[in-house]
Symmetry: C2
Subunit: 104 residues, 2 copies
């Protein structure tokens, strides 16, 4: 298991569209076999700034996610809405290590 | 419900101590009534960099956390181990909004 945290900043005029597209991506992503979480968060003090918290069973599951139609559709849709390149950071899980704490 | 994401960078010589102290903080924190998650993560490409993913029922629950003996002990212990000030960012939850997706 591992977690990718993605930081995204969108243009103020595209916030609503970004939320709609990302909620749709969330709905599909959580149905992927190897996905454990796909939380979509918005900074309280900056509504243009978003964080995706994506947990996967394995590197292979994450790679499969990036081949799905919903991910490719999302990536293409949000590209022009971002005000800076998005940044994703891969993390090892220190705790909790039991899978039941991750499996929805 | 809301999520605070805390970014921490520790000195290389204090990584093991930091993990030990933070796992202990995790063990106590997840027992707090208003805590929903307390994930402790380590950057894959930088073992000195850590991320805490803390979900709470309310602002009050988060404020209560900061009064607990385990939090105060952790904060004091890790202070000299950090190589830069830690940064916490509060987030609104866009999805999932159902509490069952957060409650362990």
């Amino acid at each position: 298991m591992f977690v990718t945290i993605v930081n995204i900043v969108v243009k103020p005029e595209n916030i609503d569209q970004f939320i709609e597209a990302t909620v749709e991506n969330h709905r599909h992503s959580i149905k992927e076999k190897g996905n454990l979480r796909f939380d979509v968060l918005q900074h309280r003090d900056n509504p243009s700034a978003f964080t995706l918290y994506e947990a996967y069973d394995s590197d292979e599951a994450s790679a499969e996610h990036k081949k799905t139609a919903h991910y490719l559709k999302w990536r293409q849709a949000v590209e022009p809405w971002m005000s800076e390149p998005r940044r994703g950071i891969a993390h090892k899980i220190v705790v909790p290590v039991e899978r039941s704490a991750w499996n929805r």
